[in-house]
């Protein structure tokens, strides 16, 4: 049960990365990040159960809070960027290069 949870968490992490790489839409990329955060949360919880130590779960609380804050700021940045680029696709954000 522990192992399965951990494997899931690793897979989710991988999927999060994959989302980040596969999708061009900014929001979807950000969803990938959320996926990673969730995988971390899962890992925390699993380990918490495994180690019989609730500190891990405590971290989850913090991480959810942080994710919320990040989402707020991030989405604000997206909106602002969308306004100036008129596009939500990451491959348009290529002025700064080389």
């Amino acid at each position: 049960m522990i192992l399965e949870g951990l494997i899931l968490s690793i897979f989710l992490f991988g999927l999060g990365c994959m989302t980040f790489l596969l999708r061009r839409n900014l929001i979807l990329m950000f969803l990938g990040i959320e996926l990673i955060i969730n995988s971390a949360n899962l890992a925390f919880v699993v380990f918490s159960a495994n180690n019989n130590n609730y500190e891990g779960s405590l971290f989850v609380l913090f991480s959810i809070g942080i994710a919320a804050a990040e989402a707020a700021v991030g989405l604000a940045i997206f909106i602002s960027a969308y306004r100036s680029f008129k596009s939500a696709y990451i491959d348009f954000f290529k002025i700064l290069r080389f």
């Binding site: 990365c17 980040f20 790489l21 061009r24 990329m29 990451i90 491959d91 954000f93 290529k94 002025i95 700064l96 290069r97 080389f98």
Partner: protein, 627 residues
């Protein structure tokens, strides 16, 4: 005494300084006064010194150390003066001839630009020449040695407005430097054996034991070949005639070029220690004497003829030293300085009045320049070796010493006969010159100037000198003053081993060749006023004539084999090694780095997703690597 001796070289130096710094603002009279006065004073002092020295009946050499140039453990070099028979002898004729040539210069240079510069250089030359003669160690001698080279450079290039004098000066300096290179190495080798440069320490014992005697002697001789224009470094001297004629007389005939002979005589124990070196000297200088004489046969430039004759005569001098008769070498230096100076000054007078160097543009000067003619004739007779002129005695002494040498080195006979042949040639080309210039029809274009007294007085003095100086060495044992004079100095070397009969035969042989040369010249150039016979000969032996006229193409050969390759190597090392290989290598490195930078830049695609790829793959790789 110490001070007086010091004053002898220093006075010309003061003269130089005054003329160099203030000369341009002074009147010509003052310049001449300074130039001649300083040399005159030093002549006066040296006469004083000589008289005292002679009156003292050859005391021990006097050695004065004024101050130390270098003072290390095992290496002490003093600014010191050595007074011994040899240096006194040199001192005398250097100051004497020098003085008269200074005087002559007033007339000769009177209208030239850079009058004060000329006298400054000349005084500087006197200073260095005196240092060279009086130095009590090799290094100080070397100072003088290089110093006279410098002055020669400056004076050859005196007419710097034209290309070739400055080229000639440069050539002289560089060729001399090549000789000095050998000289310096010889000194180093000597030092590494004896740990001293002082003549006193080295030569006072008379004999010297050296492990590397032959290399040392040869290296020193290399220096001498440079300075005294022997094969293979003689090439500068003909070119050096680009300088004003008095300069040629003083430096390139009378004094500086004989410095090599002086040095060899001075360092005689070293040459004594190496028979091989002596033999080599005879060979080289015999060859020089002969070839220079042949080259003089066909020249048209009066000064060139005299220059080749100088080289040839220098060969004689060296042959004497090679035959261990150093005093005869020095004696020939002495007599030669008079008659060659006289010849040059005479030539100078001709050039001065005719503004040409080509003997075929002169002719018939006998009437126009009587004093010059007579003095020139005297000097010609002297150089041709016709008794009782001085050249006869000195040359005969040399030839007989060669003959003596030949008695235990049989091959030297060749050089004895070569010497005789050279004497014949000398006589021939000198009288060729004489007849062409002074007899026959006038071929000059412009009317010659009149003779000036300032110029004729030195001529007369020197002519008298070339007449009488020979009597110092009458080839009779008892009244041979030179032998006597140098006896304490060269000790056992002065003795003759020839029977009187042989000596007389030798004397007649040399008189005969001299007269024979004179006769042929007479036939070719005096009797036949249009030189028909001479021209016929020229046509007949055209190829030989050309070779001789072009001096065996030695200059061309040197140019092709040394100068051109050298320039090419320089160009290659700059254009190829420095600019392409070394700099190119660095540029290539810089370029490669830049290229790498440019390539790496393209990983910076600007797409955030690419960056994420890098990040994730980085993490994966790190994990895989660490575990």
């Amino acid at each position: 005494m110490e001070l007086i001796i010091l004053l002898i070289p220093l006075l010309p130096l003061f003269g130089f300084l005054l003329n160099a710094f203030f000369g341009r603002k002074l009147k010509k009279e003052f310049v001449s006064l300074i130039g001649i006065g300083s040399v005159g004073l030093s002549l006066f002092f040296s006469l004083y010194l000589i008289i005292i020295y002679l009156l003292n009946k050859y005391p021990e050499p006097l050695n004065f150390n004024y101050y130390s140039l270098l003072d290390f453990i095992g290496l002490k070099i003093d600014f010191g003066i050595l007074i011994d028979p040899l240096s006194v002898f040199m001192l005398f004729f250097v100051t004497f001839v020098g003085f008269w040539i200074h005087l002559y210069s007033i007339g000769y240079m009177g209208k030239e630009e850079g009058y004060s510069r000329y006298f400054a250089y000349l005084n500087l030359f006197m200073f260095f020449m005196l240092i060279l003669s009086l130095a009590n160690n090799f290094l100080l001698m070397f100072v003088g040695w290089e110093g006279v080279g410098l002055c020669s450079y400056l004076l050859i290039g005196f007419y710097f407005k034209e290309e070739w004098p400055s080229n000639a000066g440069r050539k002289a300096f560089i060729v001399n430097r090549i000789g000095d290179f050998g000289f310096l190495l010889g000194l180093f080798l000597l030092f590494s054996e004896k740990s001293t440069f002082s003549f006193g320490d080295l030569f006072s014992g008379g004999e010297i034991y050296l492990k590397y005697a032959t290399p040392i002697a040869l290296l020193l001789f290399m220096g001498a070949t440079g300075k005294s224009a022997q094969i293979p470094l003689y090439v500068w001297l003909p070119d050096a005639m680009a300088g004003p004629t008095p300069v040629s007389a003083l430096i390139h005939a009378a004094t500086m070029v004989t410095a090599g002979v002086y040095m060899v005589s001075r360092a005689n124990p070293i040459f004594e220690a190496s028979p091989t070196a002596s033999s080599i000297i005879i060979i080289i200088c015999g060859a020089t004497a002969f070839f220079a004489a042949t080259m003089a046969l066909t020249q048209r430039d009066i000064k060139k003829i005299l220059a080749y004759s100088t080289i040839s005569q220098l060969g004689y001098m060296f042959m004497a030293t090679g035959a261990h008769k150093y005093h005869y070498g020095i004696f020939h230096v002495f007599t030669h300085s008079f008659f060659k100076a006289c010849l040059f000054l005479g030539a100078g007078a001709l050039i001065h009045s005719l503004h040409t160097n080509d003997i075929f543009e002169m002719g018939g000067m006998k009437e126009k320049m009587k004093k010059t003619h007579w003095t020139f004739l005297f000097a010609c007779l002297a150089i041709a070796g016709i008794p009782p002129f001085s050249g006869f005695f000195s040359k005969d002494a040399i030839l007989s010493s060669l003959f003596i040498e030949a008695q235990h080195k049989n091959w030297v006979y060749i050089f004895y006969f070569l010497g005789l042949l050279t004497a014949f040639l000398t006589s021939f080309y000198m009288f060729r010159l004489y007849y062409i210039v002074f007899w026959g029809k006038p071929r000059y274009k412009k009317e010659p100037h009149h003779e000036e007294n300032v110029m004729t007085i030195p001529l007369i003095v020197l002519a008298i000198g070339s007449l009488i100086t020979g009597f110092l060495a009458i080839p009779v044992e008892k009244i041979n003053l030179i032998n006597k004079y140098f006896h304490p100095f060269y000790k056992d070397l002065t003795e003759s081993h020839l029977s009187p009969a042989t000596e007389i035969i030798l004397i007649f042989a040399s008189i005969f060749v001299a007269l024979f040369g004179l006769r042929i010249a007479y036939v070719l150039y005096k009797k036949d006023e249009d030189f028909v016979l001479a021209n016929n000969l020229k046509e007949k032996f055209n190829s030989l004539y050309k070779v001789l006229f072009n001096k065996y193409y030695v200059d061309e050969f040197y140019n092709l084999s040394f100068v051109k390759p050298f320039t090419l190597i320089c160009k290659i090392s700059y254009k190829f090694f420095d600019e392409i290989i070394i700099d190119g290598f660095l540029i290539a490195i810089g370029f490669i780095l830049q290229m790498v930078g440019e390539i790496l830049r393209f990983f910076q695609t600007g797409n955030a997703k690419t960056y994420a790829v890098y990040i994730i793959s980085g993490i994966v790789v790190i994990i895989w690597l660490i575990l």
